[in-house]
Symmetry: C2
DNA sequence: CCCTAGCATGAATGCGCTTTCATCGCAATG
DNA sequence: CATTGCGATGAAAGCGCATTCATGCTAGGG
């Protein structure tokens, strides 16, 4: 590869100054057509590609947005849960897709990077230094670190609530209406299907999403005067199909009357439960109603099709890019924005609604 | 955002030279612990983030790999086929995932960019200038342009054959064994299921993949003495579910004996066909066999489950990153590499094999 | 025919960092 | 006690480009 040609080489070869070469790329109209041709020809012969770094340095902007997300690959789960991992990645894939699309519309490229588990080397530093602004999935990077960075360039947090009781963080946030969605879904079960013995299955590991959803569940219950504990009926260690199946079995074997409905904190678990219930001859939705959350493609394909709440994942990515671009455009140093993206309850067969 | 702090600011605040500040980040051990602490403290107070641009400029390397792909989003299909696009979990998403993962393992981040339809502005120039090397999906960028760039930095082409009859391009290539896979699948239909009236559905728009697959189809037919034209039985404008359904209908309505099997150039279309056939009461695989190509997740979930050829999409991305990294490491200026990734025939219910 | 706009181009500076190379102490050595 | 040698730091020179400012030139206007 010897050494790459630079503006100087192109300038020399075409008999102009480097300023003119630069202008040919940045502002073609300001150069006489004939000169321009000469320069472009020389550039082509040399295989000249403008250095993005130099460009960025000189103009202090990169035309790139960033996206950081957690390292989902669990070395333990390697073989075991490849499928689950798949689902987890789906989430980030969709955000990537949405963000890429929106970024592109605004003329930006997208730099993506997942945190490297065990790599103490700051992922963020790497990305942050190369982009005009970036988005981070919640719990990828310590909020404090983000705050430091956000003092100098826009940072938006995805799917994470604003943090800190005393000291709210100053980041922009984009969330989905977890509580609201679960509340609506639960209201539907209560008022439209007349159910009153509802069980919620959440996760043991801390997750703001799950907590928000559960709180929506409780709101609906309380509003309708339906009994409902302070805590989910069950908390599972991981939100996988396998755990969902186990949870369904556990609830059935628990003794006492079966719940009329089980609401899971995500679709994965609900699907697992569907399988488990089918295995033991419990009919859904006749004997028991099952609901999920997320609206993954699989939810539509299982039998019975799963009633769930659809998350606008792709739109989250888009919203992130749009927000960043807006921040970059307006010099105004406005207050942090907190966007709550609406979700959609999808009524399908597993709650007793006619399949779509 | 005022103006971002630089090494100079940090140096001044911590009472050292900028060289030392730089060393603290690049080579911490070469700085006395006490000094290092001072510098880091100052950096933190200032919210200092090293500029990737300046870094890249000075060290002439970015630590970033690039990936360019075509603009898939069909403005027309916007509403109509949103689901198609979604369920498909697009090809490029998987490549992105694979490439990101491999890049990360090697310590690189990934810059992704789709070509902007109508944007004459060279996508490649934008990406190429910011990365150490990059991969391009076939037919995203004119090969000639790539060749110019590849003179100065590694470029690998994904899913595209080496081009040029007289003048083979000098790029590295990573392909999948399209012909081979379709041939195997077709042989299976012929010898194991005894089918002899086979129809192939390809695409009207030019695609080396589709052509390669069709040629594999023909090879198998000819080898078995099965009749098979020079051209696919049908070519559709776009390889979507909707078009697949339409194709199935067309073949059924065509008059004459129904084919015994329809092989589609991708899963999307095959799935669409499955729906269309079910609607009109044609039983798969009893009345007619259907096969796809790609092995998208959906193929396993439809009913009947779809016999198809699985493409190692994720691995393509990984291979691309690995290859680029190897190129960047070795100073050797070896000949272009051409990798052919193996595919796997997945026999499922839609060809009459027992469902898995 | 001279003067002035206005346009195309060149000279020069700086963007923020990495990287020799030189320097300065200071401990180990003769 | 003078010398070496080495580890820690500073000084300075770019890296490749964008950009302002200055300059030369040509075409009108007086």
């Amino acid at each position: 590869m010897t050494t790459a040609p630079t503006v100087y080489d192109v300038a020399e070869r075409s008999g102009v100054s480097i300023a003119t070469v630069s202008r040919v790329y940045r502002n073609p109209d300001s150069v006489r057509a004939q000169t321009r041709e000469r320069v472009l020809a020389a550039a082509h012969e040399l295989g000249y590609v403008p250095s993005g770094n130099a460009r960025g340095l000189a103009s202090r902007s990169t035309g790139v947005l960033g996206l950081c997300f957690p390292d989902y690959s669990d070395p333990d789960a390697e073989a075991a849960d490849a499928e689950d991992e798949d689902a987890a990645m789906l989430y980030s894939d969709q955000i990537i897709r949405g963000m890429e699309r929106a970024a592109r519309r605004h003329g930006y490229a997208l730099l993506i990077a997942a945190s490297l588990k065990g790599g103490p080397e700051s992922l963020v530093a790497k990305v942050a230094g190369r982009v005009d602004g970036f988005a981070v999935l919640a719990r990828t990077v310590p909020t404090e670190e983000l705050e430091v960075i956000s003092r100098r360039r826009p940072v938006v947090m995805l799917a994470g609530p604003r943090e800190g009781a005393d000291h709210l963080d100053h980041l922009d946030h984009i969330e989905v209406a977890n509580a609201d969605g679960q509340r609506q879904l639960t209201e539907h079960l209560i008022s439209d299907h007349g159910l009153r013995r509802l069980a919620y299955v959440g996760s043991a590991e801390e997750s703001p999403d799950v907590e928000a959803r559960f709180s929506g569940f409780r709101q609906a219950c309380r509003a309708a005067g339906v009994e409902c504990g302070e805590e989910p009926a069950l908390r599972v260690p991981m939100m996988t199909q396998a755990e969902g199946a186990r949870a369904a079995d556990a609830l059935c074997d628990r003794g006492g009357p079966l719940p009329e409905a089980i609401s899971f904190a995500n679709d994965q678990m609900a699907v697992g439960a569907l399988y488990a219930l089918a295995r033991r001859g419990v009919k859904v939705p006749d004997d028991i109603v099952v609901t999920g959350f997320d609206g993954i493609p699989l939810s539509r394909l299982v039998h019975p099709s799963l009633t769930t709440v659809h998350q606008p994942t792709v739109r989250m990515g888009e919203a992130a890019a749009d927000l960043l671009v807006r921040r970059l455009g307006g010099t105004q140093d406005k207050d942090p924005v907190s966007m709550m993206l609406p979700v959609t309850v999808i009524r399908r067969a597993s709650c007793g609604c006619p399949a779509d």
